[in-house]
Subunit: 95 residues, 2 copies
């Protein structure tokens, strides 16, 4: 299984818009992706930074996630709220 930690800084004042886009995306991911076993939107306690904690059964499941119509639709809406590019880190789940 793999884990992805996506860290996203959002522009001041864009938090509510960003959260709405991401909550809608998270619902669609959970409804449509059996290979995505964990997909959790988390807000930092220290400012307008979010992480999405994600688990996929394998690399193919992650690739599928990024190619879905709803992910492609959400991406520019996320981008409009961000302060800089996201940081995407990949891990192997080992325990």
């Amino acid at each position: 299984m793999i884990a992805v930690v996506a860290t996203i800084r959002v522009q001041e004042g864009k938090e509510a818009e960003f959260e709405a886009v991401m909550k809608d995306l998270a619902e669609k991911v959970r409804a449509n992706e059996p290979g995505t076993t964990h997909y959790q939107l988390c807000k930092s306690k220290q400012g307008p930074t979010y992480v999405v904690l994600e688990n996929y059964t394998d690399q193919d499941a992650f690739a599928h996630h990024t190619k879905t119509s709803y992910f492609k639709e959400a991406s520019p809406k996320m981008g409009a709220c961000m302060a800089g590019g996201p940081k995407i880190e990949f891990y192997e789940v080992i325990g």
Copy 2:
């Protein structure tokens, strides 16, 4: 619910020792902490760095986790493998 992302850099050559300590700890956490709903050891694909992805029902459950006898026992063993201090980030799970 809260999320904790603990990022830990390990000394070169200490990976196996660190993983053994952490896998033992993770087993004990899962067996003994109903308030710890997710506790996952992940290894970076880019070098000797690990993250532990953690969910707790609330701040009290996290406090309880850090006070258990097995956590206190594992802590110096983890420390002996680390390259510098851990980075511990706290989040609110919102979606």
